[in-house]
Symmetry: C2
Subunit: 335 residues, 2 copies
DNA sequence: AAAGCATTTGCATTCGTATGCAACAGCGCC
DNA sequence: GGCGCTGTTGCATACGAATGCAAATGCTTT
């Protein structure tokens, strides 16, 4: 049977002090005599006392909890973010409450749980908030930070990498490598990351006087990207370069080219991705890509959330962090 | 500034009922007249009221929260588990509180946070508990389930896949494929999963009258596994098959063989992994492996935790779930 | 030794919700 | 109409810790 937990009152009795004294031993900056503290800690130790975080939250009105909403953990990019974010918040005495949500409808029900949970802040990883939900959070004074989503909501902060410049670099790099029939494989049709990368990419091509050879959509999904690749390479004259909106799809492209279509990378087709996930560095792929600054993005998000929690002000800030081109074998300058 | 949240008392005032009535509207099976409920819900809606889960937890002594302790999220196998577990618990009205912990020392400090958090249960994913910590949880009546770790602690439950049989199948399969110089690449030296897989593997070899050609340790890490592979293949006579204790390392082996050593897989060397992570199915690898039943394992863990929470009894149960051999190109029966 | 000050302590209240108990209403039945 | 019954409701209290305020302690100073 579940034991009744030890309370501060019981510790107080054993130590011969008041409950307040016990409480003060466990809150920093509280006025307590060293000798008393020692007595109390000894008693606490003896009874196995742990302050009840729930009770503390109720009175301090702060749960020291951040709600994280994610749509996909199978993408290692977001898994890495989650891991790093967890460690980062842990350092500051906060913990992550995890919520998975695939679609916007599910997000609504999840958000209801979050509001009940009294989370001090909300971190959106690869998930989007509807306008009404965003408004509700802001109205309650709960800071929200979205990573890699661009939506203009009053009071909602955003941290993103410079997708436009990343896309621009890719376009430039491929043109300068001598590619002439360059295709783009988009992520989700309505995702801001994909469309920003695309825009930068197209602008680079235009500036160099090259037109985009073809476009397809891969939904950030392996199988869909494979199908899209087959379609792109069906014609007699096929692309000599493919820019996929993320590494995961770029890998799918490479595999499909090599295994199914018998084309060599990069000799016959150059492939570039985006994210720089660990797999991109593996010998079989050696994927040229654009690295997103995962840790910097999380650091920024952490700072934004903690700052707004501390100040009690929710401000919709917008941070864009620089990306780093990573040149590997899948698309080199000399062909 | 953070708004003061709406309380059940305010809803009660607006609806012209008592606070208790409001409370009863939000707890299932409570005695409340339909007409009253309607009035209250309307008032709640109008004020934007959400029950405060913290206050509720304090009185019900149940946080409806499960603490998850993980050491590595970069392994997609555990990322998948986490995602599925989150969805599973969400269905039951529970939420996951995430804790990252690399080593046993960190686990101790993390466990202190968990005990304070009043989590109703603890799920250990790829993380191990020291004996004293386990004892403390049991003493407090908090159910603990460890996935894929075998440690004999009174009152701690375990869910694992049948690592022994999986290893056995690999040994058998390789021998029957005609391999004669079979090497084993272990995970972490002290991990129970790795040693059980090894044992099954060795027993299969022995039964078929074959000795293990060589052993090395890869720490479940890509780079370490690469180095181990180089060492294994240094001699003039090198292995004609490698069984890596997980897919991640098997991929490293394949890449190293192909890219650095110029050996063909499976023609010159057969490679087998364990886990069946998504990458294993990619055309470049086509890795023969042993699939762990991720969903079944999580389902089992969920059932164990929720069952013990409901009954208030912590029982150290032990579940072993069957694995499924997946034959792909990296090690086929005919050579 | 008394007064003055700084530090420490305890008392009482508070956070927002759940729930046992008693009061109460509405209903059918004799 | 009185009785008993079922189904609702409100009252009061509890959960466990934090904190403003006042009382008490210890120490220095004159």
């Amino acid at each position: 049977m579940r034991k009744r937990p030890v309370t501060s009152q019981e510790v107080a009795n054993l130590a011969g002090v008041s409950q307040s004294a016990v409480s003060r031993c466990f809150s920093p900056n509280a006025s307590i005599a060293p000798k008393t503290k020692e007595k109390v800690l000894a008693a606490a130790q003896q009874l196995g006392y742990r302050p009840n975080a729930i009770a503390r939250s109720l009175i301090t009105r702060s749960s020291r909890t951040i709600a994280v909403v994610m749509s996909q953990l199978d993408n290692p990019f977001y898994a890495q973010m989650l891991e790093y974010a967890s460690r980062r918040f842990q350092q500051h005495g906060y913990h992550l409450l995890l919520f998975m949500s695939s679609d916007e409808q599910e997000t609504a029900s999840v958000m209801s749980d979050i509001l009940q949970s009294q989370a001090d802040g909300i971190l959106m990883l690869a998930a989007t908030l509807s306008s009404s939900l965003a408004k509700e959070c802001v109205a309650r004074g709960i800071p929200v930070v979205m990573i890699n989503r661009t939506v203009a909501f009053e009071g909602v902060s955003q941290v993103a990498s410079d997708n436009y410049r990343g896309g621009y670099w890719v376009g430039q790099h491929l043109v300068e490598s001598g590619c002439e029939r360059i295709a783009f494989l988009a992520g989700l049709a309505d995702s801001s990351t994909s469309s920003q990368r695309r825009q930068g990419f197209l602008d680079a091509l235009t500036e160099h006087g090259v037109a985009c050879w073809a476009e397809a959509v891969g939904d950030y999904d392996f199988a869909t990207a494979q199908a899209a690749t087959r379609a792109l390479f069906k014609a007699d004259v096929y692309p000599d370069a493919v820019f996929a909106a993320n590494d995961h799809m770029a890998i799918a492209v490479i595999d499909t080219l090599k295994a199914e279509l018998g084309l060599q990378v990069p000799n016959e087709v150059a492939v570039v991705g985006f994210d720089n996930i660990p797999v991109a560095a593996w010998p079989s792929y050696q994927l040229t890509t654009v690295q997103q600054p995962i840790e910097a993005m999380v650091d920024e998000a952490t700072a934004l959330l903690l700052g707004q929690i501390a100040s009690g002000q929710v401000t919709g800030e917008r941070k864009v962090l620089p990306v780093t081109p990573i040149v590997r074998d899948s698309a080199r300058s000399q062909r």
